[in-house]
Subunit: 212 residues, 2 copies
DNA sequence: CCAATTGTTTGTCGATCGACAAAGAATAGG
DNA sequence: CCTATTCTTTGTCGATCGACAAACAATTGG
């Protein structure tokens, strides 16, 4: 394959774009913003990524394979549902409040409103969030099948509950609620799962209040 | 007071603007959109409301005095915290999923991202959401003072928990999760409060699954 | 009836939006 | 070295952004 070699690192540029979208959302990030953030002319961005929308989709994919993938990773680990769900939220809080990148979740923050042109982007983001809800429900359903949860447990309701809470945590984090407060919030949040555990072990585990 | 009388109803125009902002957010709603929605020329909008931002702030005030004020109203009613909190959420779900206006909460949806110009609008919306969190904490603190909640209850954590859940419900509603699913979610959601109730009454109340 | 006041109409302003076209520069294969 | 291919540079396109200015119309107080 011939041709002049690219002078900038495509992966680095993509990560910068991801951070820009994370901070300002899809529509809130203009091409001029991206030119500033990536440090390259707009024509080079189009040559490398196709369009603003294509760049955004790649940025979301990068986010979900990195910082945004905490939920998937936590749920695929071995262990009880109790540990898994609590891990999802402690990781969420850590990710959503870290200072070296924007607060909250890219997929939650970037959506919100929908202008005429970007309706499909909004819908695409919504489907991502719905997928995350489904993943949580699947986790709980598997736990129920294993006998970890009471047979009468409504895993769909419980999953919807934790998905809603997760999305709400993103909003709270972006509004400046700190990690300590969000972590304290986990104590009441886990009572819902504890009530559904098959083991009658009272207060099987309490939300970690460690480190710091 | 002399002068030519206004030919359009200012209140009706404001409501139409509120619905437009609710559907598309602040930045997502252009002046052209408002011209279409209100049915009057842009110069008349500026004459009547001052600017797009001033119109938006009036629209939010209208929202909070109407559909968006359910939480304040529910919390100011007489009754137990249990009833009040459950009422906040049943009203939220009803409001957020009604078909005669956009889904979700205007204050949650309109924010999300923040462009350069509208940073102050974003911050203003964030302060509104933080205020809502505080209101819930205040409600719980008063209930604790009345002896409704166990003395050791962390009302801040519990309030943060329900505020996060409330904001998450707005996201879920906007993503198309229906009222039935959201209402089912209330059952696990209320276990957190039940665990903090001073009365050892087991399952003092279950989430209403009535009407429809 | 007149002047002051206020709403309405029409047109447009500069800035910014996302998106390329065209031309020059750098590489690989032949 | 030459050609095909790819990237970079520069400039700009039409559309849309929020926001008025100026001229005209309608009303009230004097």
């Amino acid at each position: 394959m011939a041709g002049r070699p690219r002078e900038f690192d495509r992966d680095q540029a993509l990560e910068k774009a991801m951070l820009a979208f994370w901070a300002r959302g899809y529509e809130g990030t203009s091409m001029a913003n991206l030119v500033d953030a990536l440090g390259i002319a707009s024509a080079r961005i189009y040559a490398a990524f196709g369009s603003k929308e294509a760049l955004f989709r790649e940025a979301v994919a990068l986010y979900e394979s990195g910082q945004g993938g905490f939920a998937e990773r936590a749920m695929q680990q071995e262990g009880t549902v109790r540990v898994a769900i609590e891990r999802v939220f402690t990781d969420a809080i850590e990710t959503y409040t870290q200072a070296d990148h924007p607060q909250g979740c890219l997929v939650v923050s970037a959506a919100a409103s929908g202008a005429l042109e970007s309706d499909q982007v909004i819908a695409w983001l919504a489907s991502h969030r719905r997928q995350r809800t489904q993943s949580i429900i699947d986790l709980l359903a598997a736990a129920k099948q294993r006998g970890e949860l009471k047979p009468e447990t409504d895993v769909a309701a419980l999953g919807d509950f934790y998905a809603a809470l997760l999305h709400g945590v993103s909003v709270q984090a972006r509004d400046g609620i700190g990690a300590e407060r969000l972590r304290a919030m986990l104590v009441p949040a886990m009572t819902a799962l504890d009530a559904a555990l098959a083991t009658s072990d009272p207060a099987a585990g309490s939300a970690s209040t460690s480190k710091e």
